[in-house]
């Protein structure tokens, strides 16, 4: 039964994405996992079908700024069982694109949004550095204002889509002495002299998405590639965190649900001591606990989503949803592996991947610890 939050249109979006995932993604997931990335053409296919434009207005090629439709897209993407696919598409559509859409000049929007929405160009957002993770204000990549251009020096790490992105929205220090008040965002295009991809990183999970380490050495970036105003970057980043965190919470819930479905099916088939595991109270109760955790996370996430789409202050609830959903996704996928026993530990069964993919949830997009900081900050004035 559809949740009250979603309309008939959203349910039709859901059906369409589900159908697409079933036909054009699920059959290839193993192949892409082994290749270490999904094909670049998937961006163009998702763009052609309109999925990458769900949260953008029609003037840039979208179908209307509908975050509920975007939420449905990410929930259904998670059902493919390889979280890297949604991570790659999402890094371009939901993380890099919104910075330009919400804060960029009309010229930047016209240059970068239509190709992002059609999937012809891939975007990435680069904030994290080898020495700056949760402490965003401490980034060391600098951009010297040279009048008509910036000279960028520094490096970025753990950048989703970093290896094959056509453009990278990059957080730089334009005023190194000013802490978080000295950060700006620059759009740096692939092929700009001085911008190189140092390497593609090997990860525990999210293996269908590429993750890169980027290096800037006297990289000349045109002045018009500045997003919004100089030294406002920190605030821009913080503003879109709400959507990114909601997407992560939605994906965590959907992935945990998938783990339950797979574990329940396995429990029905696996016979030990003369009975299917699903007949043992210990397994039944385990599954009931898992389902209750996921349902709680789903309700909290939908609540945060409903606040977000209504334009109300959702910072606390979004942080709670991201914290809780990602934490329980670790627990639930871990229990799903446990129900599978020895087979759960084998690469042949996809449940190990759900467990590996879930692990990033409490680290990326703001760690669980940072979520608690955010919540406590609102709680204790």
């Amino acid at each position: 039964m559809a949740h009250w939050l979603f309309t008939e249109e959203h349910e039709l979006v859901r059906k369409t994405v589900r159908n697409w995932v079933e036909k054009e993604i699920k059959p290839y997931v193993e192949e892409w996992e082994n290749a270490g990335e999904f094909p670049r053409e998937l961006f163009a296919r998702a763009g052609e079908l309109g999925f990458l434009g769900l949260t953008y207005p029609e003037e840039y090629g979208g179908s209307g700024e509908d975050y509920l439709a975007g939420a449905v897209f990410f929930e259904e993407m998670a059902r493919c069982g390889s979280a890297g696919v949604a991570a790659g598409l999402g890094a371009s559509m939901a993380i890099a694109g919104p910075q330009i859409y919400k804060f960029g000049s009309e010229e930047l929007k016209n240059r970068f949004l239509p190709p992002t929405i059609s999937g012809k160009k891939i975007g990435a957002l680069a904030i994290t550095e080898p020495n700056a993770g949760s402490d965003v204000a401490s980034i060391q990549t600098t951009a010297r204002n040279m009048g008509d251009h910036y000279l960028v020096n520094g490096s970025k790490i753990f950048i989703t889509n970093g290896v094959r992105a056509d453009y990278v929205v990059t957080a730089v220090k334009t005023d190194p002495a000013a802490g978080h008040k000295g950060i700006s965002l620059l759009v740096i295009e692939k092929g700009t002299p001085g911008f190189t991809v140092a390497k593609k990183l090997d990860k525990l999970g999210w293996n269908t998405s590429d993750t890169g380490e980027l290096v800037f050495e006297d990289c000349r970036v045109p002045g018009e590639n500045l997003v919004g105003r100089e030294n406002m970057g920190f605030y821009y980043i913080m503003q879109n965190f709400a959507w990114e965190r909601l997407v992560m919470a939605l994906e965590a819930v959907a992935s945990a649900q998938l783990a339950i479905d797979v574990a329940a099916e396995y429990a029905r088939q696996r016979v030990q001591f003369g009975r299917p595991l699903s007949k043992f109270q210990v397994t039944r109760h385990k599954l009931a606990d898992m389902a209750s955790l996921v349902e709680t996370a789903r309700c909290l996430t939908y609540h945060a989503l409903s606040l977000y789409v209504s334009g109300r202050d959702a910072v606390t609830e979004v942080a709670m949803a991201k914290l809780y959903a990602c934490e329980i996704a670790n627990r639930v996928t871990d229990e799903a592996v446990q129900i599978h026993g020895g087979y759960g530990y084998m690469m042949e069964y996809p449940v190990q991947r759900f467990w590996r993919d879930a692990r990033i949830g409490t680290i990326g997009g703001g760690t669980s610890d940072i979520m608690k900081q955010v919540i406590a900050g609102r709680l204790i004035k």
Binding site: M1, E8, E11, T16, G50, L54, S63, A69
Partner: protein, 256 residues
């Protein structure tokens, strides 16, 4: 070219069929989809429209939930929809075809498309009956269709090959798998589907009543297939096991 497409909302192919306490098929909690064969018909209608110009109207008989199938067709690109709510009337193929034919006769049409059968009851009768009532030709299980100069040239698979038939328009053509690959509804199309006209009618609006469509066929009872029995594993050395298997196939299963 005015094209009418007959559409039915059916159970999802993945749906688990259960019987309720009265022995009827229970629809609670079952997700519904557009009958896949009707999806081929909608796609074909849209392709003809894109080539020849014109208008595609999708028509269904059913309650509130049949709207979803119509909206999907509108989101794919159909121009308008007609939904006839049969109310409490029990439907069989005769009744459904009578209603559809009446609804279509209120429209202008050059071509009527539909799936050759629905995946739920699988009777494969409705489109043919509609053609009969409207007194126009019908070609069934079509896998290729060309429209040229007021005629339809349809290819259909037969047991030993295929045949190509020509019929004057208007005609009813029913779609078989292979006719085309249906498109996904576009996201913009979905957001706009509600703005497209959906004409909701009752039997009375069509000048029909329960008496005129009273079903000629009544389902007496439903039963589910026997659950599959567990397989048998024959232990032992290969040669001996093979001998035992041959014996069981001959004496127990009686298949060789």
């Amino acid at each position: 070219m005015k094209i009418a497409v007959l559409v039915k909302q059916t159970f999802d192919t993945e749906a688990k069929i259960i019987l309720d306490v009265n022995g009827k098929i229970s629809s609670s909690g079952v997700s519904l989809i557009m009958n896949p064969y009707d999806e081929f018909a909608v796609e074909e209608g849209l392709r003809i429209k894109e080539k020849e110009g014109g208008e595609v109207t999708v028509i269904s008989v059913g309650g509130q939930q049949a709207q979803d199938a119509l909206r999907q067709a509108l989101a794919m690109g159909a121009d308008k929809a007609v939904l006839v709510d049969q109310g409490e009337a029990e439907l069989d193929e005769y009744a459904t075809a009578t209603i559809l034919a009446k609804a279509i006769s209120d429209l202008e049409y050059d071509l009527i498309l539909g799936g050759f059968r629905a995946i739920d009851d699988g009777s494969a009768q409705v489109a043919g009956r509609v053609a009969e009532i409207l007194n126009i030709p019908v070609v069934n299980v079509v896998t290729g269709l060309e429209i040229e100069g007021g005629k339809a040239v349809a290819t259909r698979e037969t047991e030993s090959g295929s045949e190509v038939l020509e019929v004057p328009l208007p005609a009813v053509i029913t779609a078989q798998k292979g006719l085309n690959e249906p498109r996904y509804p576009s996201m913009k199309g979905i957001m706009k589907a509600k703005k497209k006209p959906m004409d909701k009618k009752t039997l009375a609006d069509l000048g029909l009543d329960d008496g005129k469509i009273s079903a000629k066929v009544k389902a007496l009872s439903f039963s589910l297939p026997e659950p599959r029995k567990a397989g048998k594993v024959i232990p032992g050395e290969a040669a001996e096991a093979a001998r035992e298997l041959a014996r069981l196939l001959r004496e127990e299963a009686k298949v060789i």
